[in-house]
Amino acid sequence: MGKQLLLENINVQGISTLEVYRANGGYKALEKALKMQQSEVVDEVKKSGLRGRGGAGFPTGMKWGFIAKPEGVPRHLVCNADESEPGTFKDRFLMQNKPHMLIEGMILSSYALGANVSYIYIRGELLYVYHILEKAIQEAYDAGLLGKNILGSGFDLELYVQCGAGAYICGEETALIESLEGKRGNPRIKPPFPAVSGVWGRPTVVNNVETIAATVPIILMGGDEYAKIGIGKSTGTKLISACGHLAKPGVYEIEMGLSTEEFIYSENYCGGIKNGKKLKAVVAGGSSVPILPAELFLKTAKGEPRLMSYESLADGGFATGTMLGSGGFIVLDETASIVKNLWNFTRFYHHESCGQCSPCREGTGWMEKVLHRILEGHGKQSDVDLLFDIQSKIDGKTICPLGEAASWPVASAIRHFRAEFEEYVNHPEKIKDVKHYYNMRNLQPTA
């Protein structure tokens, strides 16, 4: 097992309470940070090479450097806890078990940015985590870790948790800001970027839960030390939520640069494929990233072993590579149907499209209907090409990245598994799981 920075002490009884968290070295980083200058904290994060853990992998220190600092205008830090990508559940796990780690990260990040009012925007479905966070924040207020004059440093911070109403689109930072302001969660048209005009028109930084939590070990161990973990520009550790046909699915913390083969097959991690089946395909970073067949996932097109890092997973571009994304690691074994899996993803994007711009609004529904038809056994020869064409018309033409998130899985599934789609179209009588599919469609709540 590699270094455990975020999930350290996760199994200690009662770690979600302030008392136990502090007894295990909690809030040490905050004490250290409050003694430093604000710019020093930012420098440490810059030195660490930390990259945004929400999916895009943008360097966090650089993002913090972009924030506009006009005189007399308050700044805000918003934590994006609207984790709704199919396959990703790392933030929920972290918040549920170590809420104080997020709060500690929020306080020291707010200090670094000079924000006196910060928000955690949490997904509506995670109501129980909301209550855990509220309780933890109350504990922090009572202990003088939040509010006026934190730990005698003269720094004030008010921290609020805002519950969303359950929309994937609100994970997009400008839609999140709209929703936070009490409006309909539609992405804004950029520019202006949130760093200039965000919440209430003020400069805002939006960071993922894991990114903010990662600032805690960075301050504790120092940016340079943190940068030594990992490989190349992918520094530090990353939470991976592994699911699908695995012997041991769950949330794992890995050091960047771990080989994909080791991650799937090692007993320390996922422990191989369930029931000794063969690996068919992997969606490496949440449903929106391109799917890869087993041979391309374990080895790059050049024959080098593929590593769990931003660069190595993206090696070969979209033709033979994928993305690390948000760390939602979905594994499909040989029995899984790529077409059905893709239909399920597309159905999700169809359901979650906000309806602002036409390519995404109309295209996602169209793709779902075509896939639906193929799955039902009424597919046409032209449908596979049609699907590929629809996705190419959506990709890059939308306001926010949801359009791309909807088009990439379709493009990659057809690119790598075209034969399977054609099998569905040419031999509909062979589709065994039609019954199952019908059951799914007419899903009834069961007792």
Partner: protein
């Protein structure tokens, strides 16, 4: 002032101008079509994606091209920027795709639609769309609803351009309609049984690029190309009173705002002028409206109408012209 090159034509524009505005300054042959952008609105555009262009050179300072097509209505020009609109083949393919998406759930009921003949979507699909559709599923459909005493909403035809919502935001203190639901089931609607009731509500009919919002006093009265548009004015306390009357014979069938060459109204008009003054005697006639030659309305022996309706000065001019010709 930044200089921008669009389709090989250079123009100098004030700072803060968008690519679309700069293209419109050059002329119709380079201006991208726009379905949701409306220059008279403070906030509009960015949604329909028909105005996408390729930025082949970012600016003089940073010449890297933009990786994705950009919405020209929301992208400001930079000094030295180079933009490809009609000269980029890929851009035209992309736009064709956008038009296909817009038409996906549109019922194409032009034969019974009041907007036909002055419909922006009709023009757009004629210019940029393909003749056939590849969509063979049921199109979404909605019941028609009356929103307020004058306006009917036929949501089936709506392309969700958000223009009416932005118009109501700008013209009224309290907007009572908006977008409900999300994705491809989202719809323009009022809250349950609320109706739109304010003095400028009629303008949402004018801004609607398709036949989703129609004038209840004009519904099914006539095809627009059988009516003759005439500019007229009256003294109105609420608005500028500058309107366009649509005649059929001696009857004024409807009153709309005056539209410029981009199909956008020049002045907002009030409901009083629009719906309550439909007599010839209510108005001071200024003369026939200029109709673009590509418009279907110009196919309507319009010159004859011009002769009939142009009273006074213009008739005299024509007579004197004839006399000159005779001599």
């Amino acid at each position: 002032m930044p200089k921008v090159t669009i389709d090989g034509i250079e123009i100098e524009v004030p700072k803060g101008t968008t690519i679309l505005q700069a293209a419109r300054m050059i002329g119709k042959h380079v201006a991208p079509p726009a379905m949701c952008y409306y220059s008279k609105l403070k906030v509009s555009g960015g949604y329909c994606r028909t105005c996408i262009v390729r930025v082949t050179k970012g600016s003089a300072a940073n010449p890297t091209p933009m990786p994705k097509p950009v919405a020209s209505c929301r992208t400001e020009v930079m000094d030295g920027m180079e933009v490809a609109n009609y000269t980029s083949e890929q851009n035209l393919i992309d736009r064709k795709g956008v038009v296909e998406f817009l038409l996906l759930n549109h019922p194409l009921d032009c034969p019974v639609c009041d907007q036909a003949g002055e419909c922006h979507l009709q023009d757009l699909s004629y210019e940029n769309g393909s003749a056939n559709t590849r969509y063979d599923f049921d199109r979404r459909s909605f019941e028609k609803i009356d929103i307020g005493p004058y306006v009917q909403l036929h949501m089936t035809r709506c392309i969700l351009c958000f223009r009416c919502v932005n118009t109501a935001n700008q013209l009224t203190e309290k907007r009572v309609h908006g977008v409900m639901n999300r994705g491809d089931v989202s719809e323009i609607s009022t809250y349950i049984t609320k109706s739109i009731d304010n003095e400028f509500s009629g303008n949402i009919i004018d801004v609607c690029p398709v036949g989703a919002l129609t004038d209840k006093t004009f519904r099914f009265k006539s095809r627009v190309w059988f009516t003759k548009p005439v500019d007229a004015n009256r003294e109105c306390k609420k608005c500028a009173g500058k309107v366009r009357l649509w005649f059929k014979g001696e009857d004024v069938l409807r009153v709309t705002g005056r539209k410029d060459q981009w199909g956008e109204v020049t002045d907002w008009i009030c409901n009083d002028c629009r719906f309550e003054h439909k007599r010839y005697s209510d108005w001071n006639i200024e003369g026939p409206s200029h109709i673009d030659h590509h418009s279907v309305i110009s196919q309507n022996h319009y010159e004859l109408a011009k002769l009939k309706l142009d009273t006074g000065k213009q008739l005299k001019e024509l007579k004197s012209k004839k006399q000159v010709d005779k001599k």
